[in-house]
């Protein structure tokens, strides 16, 4: 076999250190980017914003990855994994940025793998178990509609050029994610009696967690309009807004987060700094 016949053979050469196909070499997605903090930007505020948005994406990506081998169809599995991969990419950029500006010098890996659940700042919506496929697409709709609205604002006017660029890139990705979720909600809601019932249950189960998203970033007009549009097309009822005690951005979490982190962090904690 010629060397270039097989993509992995060329990766096995000795002269470079990027071993993405083998699991290591995932360092610094902001490689070579000007990472200074502009005047007038409070580093602590910027770090908190990046950490919250980075944790949202990281935990959402981990839940999406859990659908692999479990999705109703192969195409949906591939779609959910790809959406998770986009979010993981956003998480890497945002956590790297958070570690740069919070003064601790922590890397994306330090932040992802070496914090306890109390130190995570994600909204609780993303940490809930996947449940029914209908619940997962209802969650993805709410999450991506909110994140898209937030990223549009950040891309348009945040004072930090790194966060602004990360957001501008994310807008394009999130537009696809929201479209995917919205189409599934409509297909299931406006489908059979069984799919309608389960889609309504999924939407009802997501509802109590929505207000927390607005506390993190109040874009309720945009998100509310999208949810109303989708619910209408899907013949579903939008549940009344409720509000839960506590706040994921302040470190309050459901008992579902710790087991997720245990699984996600297990190898990194067992083999600190491991290379393979």
């Amino acid at each position: 076999m010629r060397e270039d016949d097989h993509v992995y053979l060329s990766l096995a050469e000795e002269q470079d250190d990027a071993r993405w196909a083998f699991g290591t070499g995932f360092e610094d997605p902001l490689h070579g980017v000007d990472t200074s903090v502009p005047d007038g930007v409070d580093p602590a505020e910027l770090a908190a914003l990046c950490l919250g948005l980075g944790d949202d994406a990281l935990i959402a990506a981990q839940r999406l990855a859990e659908w692999v081998t479990r999705a109703p169809e192969l195409e949906e599995e591939v779609a959910l994994a790809n959406i998770g991969l986009d979010l993981l990419g956003q998480a890497r950029l945002l956590l790297t940025r958070a570690g740069q500006v919070d003064g601790t010098g922590r890397s994306e890996d330090d932040l992802a793998y070496l914090r306890e659940s109390d130190d995570f700042r994600n909204v609780r919506l993303v940490e809930l178990p996947n449940g029914d496929f209908a619940f997962s697409v209802a969650r993805l709709l709410v999450f991506s509609a909110h994140r898209l609205a937030v990223f549009e604002r950040l891309a348009a006017g945040h004072a930090d050029p790194v966060l602004r660029a990360v957001a501008a890139k994310g807008v394009k990705e999130l537009t696809y994610h929201r479209q995917y979720a919205a189409e599934w909600v409509v297909r299931l809601g406006d489908g059979t009696d069984e799919s309608h019932r389960r889609m309504q249950e999924g939407l009802d189960a997501v509802a109590p967690y929505i207000e927390e998203l607005y506390r993190a970033a109040d874009v309720r007009d945009e998100v509310g309009a999208v949810l109303a549009q989708v619910a209408d097309a899907a013949t579903l009822k939008l549940p009344a807004a409720e509000s839960l005690e506590g706040d994921g951005r302040a470190g309050d979490h459901t008992p579902c987060l710790a087991p997720l982190l245990f699984e996600m962090q297990e190898v990194a904690r067992a083999l600190p700094g491991g290379q393979w």
């Binding site: 270039d4 470079d16 990027a18 070579g32 986009d86 660029a165 501008a168 994310g170 989708v230 097309a233």
Partner: protein, 174 residues
């Protein structure tokens, strides 16, 4: 070093970097893909290459970076830096005409124009829109259908052709 020699070196460096191929779409060079944003030679003779990622989570980015450095080392450039450029974000509109032709020749449907109207305000959600059929790269038929918006990589969607029954991938507009 004279100014002319320096310019020649910079041109050579650019040509070397332009020829590096995408690890996931090896029919495309980085120049075809539109991710190579700049190649510059600094006063000290070092070369700085600016690359932009396609998708935030594209795992090929680190590999591209390593391939660029390796190719330039092999071409005699000892000191090479790669800079990531995030802004403006990559668009499939940056894939060259040559790149589109090569994609089609390899059975991958090239992207259409990226739709992003310049109107201010939120990105609209359009439900029930009929997606414009993309021609089958195998037989040219327009009787095709999208199977999934997502495919083997983040940048592609999965389609099938109703005429020749072949599945194919389409680089989706972004």
């Amino acid at each position: 070093m004279t100014a002319r020699a320096s310019t020649a070196r910079q041109t050579t460096a650019r040509e070397v970097a332009e020829r590096v191929v995408d690890p996931e779409l090896p029919m495309l060079t980085l120049a075809d893909l539109g991710v190579l944003r700049d190649v510059a030679e600094d006063a000290d003779g070092s070369v700085t290459v600016a690359l932009t990622p396609t998708y935030s989570g594209c795992p090929a980015m680190a590999e591209m970076r390593a391939d660029v450095v390796r190719s330039l080392h092999e071409a005699g450039f000892a000191d090479v830096r790669v800079r990531t450029v995030l802004d403006p974000p990559w668009s499939t509109d940056w894939i060259s005409a040559d790149g589109r032709r090569k994609l089609a020749e390899h059975g991958v449907s090239p992207p259409g124009a990226a739709q992003r109207d310049a109107s201010p305000g939120p990105v609209p959600l359009v439900l029930g829109a009929v997606r414009e059929a993309v021609p089958c790269p195998n037989c040219g038929s327009r009787d095709t259908a999208e199977t999934s918006r997502f495919s083997s990589t983040a940048c592609k969607a999965l389609w099938r052709c109703r005429s020749c029954s072949e599945p194919f991938e389409h680089v989706k507009e972004i």
